[in-house]
């Protein structure tokens, strides 16, 4: 299902006014990741695609116009599945009822529950589920209408790393099984690399990068082959040298630096930790 998106919308973000302008075509059955700093319009783009927010422009999904000349198809009439960051399950219904409320298709509901390992929990209410389980229910629910377009809004942000990995596989599996065109908001390069064929970076409402995960995510500026983005947590003086404590992803590392660089560093600053002269070595235990 090809998805043609050509939209613009004025947004009043935390950093003042900005214009969301997206011109994009998603090929049928593709898995695309949408990344970029928070407040750049990623979630808004998903909401516009789902019909939950208005926009100017055009959205065409396999010849059917979802949005054209200010005529917008309501969310009810779009073949779309949306996975909310906070899952947004129907709290008063059991897991199974959550799925059947969307579509009275017990066979599909049971198959989905089976393939995500939820069969045992079918009669539980969401309040009694863990984060990962809720996430699975939300995913199954989003697939109950067999959507053409599947939208995932930071689906793993509230989960621990092991659970992320399992669910990433499940999402990929279902994406293939259902043949959906999938668009996923994510901040995690590893996750994007693992799942997506294409990455789009959105900054201040504009697309600033569009390519394969390798092209967009691997940094190849200058001679730096081995570099990480991090945040300075502390600068310590030890004897003659300065040591910067930097958070890189889930890890905290110490980096020795000269006095001149140390003077310019500020706590909370975003920096790149890189090595130029030496080839990095991977050590396994």
């Amino acid at each position: 299902m090809m998805v043609d998106i050509k939209i613009r919308k004025r947004l009043h973000g935390a950093r003042g006014e900005m214009e969301l302008f997206v011109n994009l075509t998603l090929s049928a059955g593709s898995f695309t990741a949408l990344t970029g700093p928070s407040g750049s319009g990623k979630s808004t783009l998903l909401r516009i695609l789902a019909g939950l927010e208005s926009a100017d422009g055009e959205i065409k999904v396999s010849q059917k116009r979802w949005l054209a000349n200010n005529k917008s198809l309501p969310p009810q009439q779009r073949d779309v599945g949306l996975l909310f960051q906070d899952y947004a399950l129907f709290e008063h219904m059991s897991v199974r009822q959550n799925l059947l409320f969307v579509q009275k298709d017990p066979a599909l509901a049971d198959a989905l529950l089976e393939s995500t390992g939820l069969s045992e929990l079918a009669n539980r209410r969401p309040a009694y589920l863990s984060g990962g389980q809720k996430q699975r229910v939300a995913l199954c629910r989003a697939l109950m209408r067999r959507p053409k377009l599947l939208l995932l809004d930071e689906p793993f942000s509230a989960l621990d790393p092991a659970m992320r990995l399992t669910l990433q596989h499940e999402i990929l599996k279902l994406h293939r099984e259902f043949g959906t065109t999938t668009l996923m908001v994510s901040h995690d390069p590893a996750e994007i690399y693992r799942m997506a064929q294409r990455v789009i970076r959105l900054e201040n409402g504009k697309i600033t990068a569009d390519g394969t995960p390798g092209d967009v995510l691997l940094k190849r500026s200058g001679s730096q082959k081995f570099s990480f983005e991090g945040e300075v947590l502390e600068i310590q003086k030890r004897d003659a040298v300065y040591v910067a404590v930097v958070a890189i992803g889930q890890q905290i590392v110490e980096v020795v630096t000269d006095t001149r660089t140390a003077k310019t560093l500020q706590i909370g600053q975003q920096v790149t930790v890189a090595t130029k002269a030496f080839a990095p070595v991977i050590i396994t235990e």
């Binding site: 019909g51 309501p74 969310p75 949306l82 947004a88 709290e91 008063h92 309040a127």
Partner: protein, 227 residues
């Protein structure tokens, strides 16, 4: 001890029941709409429907009496076109009670709807459900405690009504003489014995009804797992 006339109690509870039912149907869509709208008129509408909380019952009663009177434009219209006489009649009491108790039904429902996770409602829309389906099958079941307190407070408030009822309904036995009015009349003619009996019965019934409600509420909360 002379036998007790139960009619005033029956009238009080009939009035409360009818008022609560009518108000539920009227306030539900309005509360749903108010909880979601971004119109600038919202504060004015909210102030308008909240007026009965602030106004003395006599003010409301006076206006209603004036509006319902057969020689007023509204009263004349109702009488000629619909054959309705709202002054000193049971239907009049219902209309007056509906207006008087409106905020007590509306506010718990509205704040219940406002406290719902917006994404949950949007999930229903994306799942193809209409606004009405979402209201009935998603929103309402998730605000059960608020719904229950709206129904109970409205019911209780109507049973406990006095000023508006007296002004609009007067005291016609079997038609508009509700329990609170009956007690007032006993006190007025210094029949303290009957005033005592009636008052005690009111306290007893009200206590039993409220206890039943709170028991149900507690049971329900446990069942939902505190969610």
């Amino acid at each position: 001890m002379s036998s007790i006339a139960w009619t005033p109690f029956w009238l009080s509870f009939k009035l409360a029941f009818v008022t609560t039912a009518v108000l539920f149907l009227l306030a539900l869509p309005l509360a749903w709409w108010l909880a979601q709208t971004r119109t600038r008129l919202k504060p004015f509408l909210e102030a308008l429907v909240s007026l009965p909380i602030v106004l003395p019952p006599s003010v409301l009663g006076f206006y209603l009496l004036w509006a319902f009177a057969p020689d007023s434009p509204l009263g004349a219209f109702l009488k000629e076109r619909l054959g309705l006489e709202l002054v000193f009649s049971f239907p009049g009491l219902v209309v007056a009670s509906v207006i008087y108790s409106f905020p007590f039904m509306l506010q718990p429902l509205q704040s219940g709807f406002e406290s719902l996770n917006r994404h949950m409602l949007e999930a229903a829309y994306v799942a193809g459900k209409t606004g009405w389906q979402t209201l009935l099958f998603v929103a309402l079941p998730n605000i059960k405690p608020a719904l229950l307190s709206a129904l109970i407070v409205t019911f209780a408030h109507t049973v406990g009504e006095f000023g508006v009822v007296l002004m609009v309904g007067g005291s016609i036995p079997g038609e508009t003489k509700v329990a609170s009015v009956a007690i007032y009349e006993y006190v007025e003619i210094m029949d303290y014995k009957n005033a005592h009996i009636y008052s005690a019965i009111m306290v007893g019934i009200s206590f039993v009804v409220l206890t039943a409600v709170y028991l149900f509420n507690r049971h329900h909360r446990r069942r939902l797992g505190g969610a």
